[in-house]
Symmetry: C2
Subunit: 188 residues, 2 copies
Amino acid sequence: MAESKHETILRAAQKLFAERGYDGTTVPMIAEEARVGAGTIYRYFENKQKLVNELFRGSVARFAATLRDGFPEQEDFRQKFRHVFYRLIRYSRENPEAFRFINATANAYFLDEQSKADFEGFMDFIESHLDEGKKAGLLRDLPSQAFIAIVYGTIFHLSRMFEDGTLEPADELLSGIENSCWDAVSES
Amino acid sequence: MAESKHETILRAAQKLFAERGYDGTTVPMIAEEARVGAGTIYRYFENKQKLVNELFRGSVARFAATLRDGFPEQEDFRQKFRHVFYRLIRYSRENPEAFRFINATANAYFLDEQSKADFEGFMDFIESHLDEGKKAGLLRDLPSQAFIAIVYGTIFHLSRMFEDGTLEPADELLSGIENSCWDAVSES
DNA sequence: GAGACCGGAATGAACGTTCATTCCTACATT
DNA sequence: AATGTAGGAATGAACGTTCATTCCGGTCTC
């Protein structure tokens, strides 16, 4: 089998959660999307809330891995910034549903402590990376959270536009926006 | 009475929708928050979906009014940009629940055509304003949608941080971010 | 005391979840 | 090789609960 039932169910849930949200998605909907019986879902997940938390943590872990993977530890800060930017873009483009799901879910009332902690850890990676640039005097005198708002906020909105076809993700466009973001955060 | 029941119900619904989303909010919850009977809600709204759509349109209308109000038609583009930036910030700060609700709801499956059209009209105002700057050669060679992603995306993320206390909305910080955004979109 | 208005119990549909049953696969027996 | 059997996996009808919505008896207002 190419994909286990466990994975099939998670994939189906992710698609629906991204489209309709957690509360707007019923367990029978997930079952139908995954082409399994409703009861089967409960062989793999204790309940709907455990399912959404497991899905969230998995998505965040893969997202974090995408960022850390091939991080140019030896190169200069400008290169590192570029790496993070393009990896954020890459993940949002290759996993639009996961990206949308993560962002819509990150503050949700049904997330457990572990999930919240995992997401915070992921954000800390981005923040500490920006802190490094700030210490090196390469970035403006703003809290690194502000940089996150600029870079992550931009990419988040961009990915929405790519998804609904408002904007086409051409290389030239991405490179232009990467420069914009760099100019927004870097010391003049 | 300072506030009609109609308004009280809308306010209560907005608070809950912003916190828990449309499907995560039940009509009895809204009734309790508004301190009215569940049946009373149906004296003012045909059903839950009509309620959320009316609320959405009202919020978008007030948001749009905030932007248009006092728009410095006679001044230069830099001033106009500043105006839009600070009005976006102002609305998100004075109406954090409305702002969060609008952004979480803008693409939702339960919005009717009228609501979608209203929101698009609002976004068109921002876009046409940016187009003007582009025609004047003041902005980079990027689609104006990309500018929206940068400015609106930044403010959206920022407002989240203000709401959950990650960041404090000091004047100095806002002015610094406004400059960042301007540098991100303007021709060097 | 008539009429508009309101609250919250009542209602049927739909929810998350369970469970008795069926299905499938692998191995034992011949 | 063919048949029998065991047991985990899968199912979907059924359960209690909760939802959106309706309805009706009571309460203000004039």
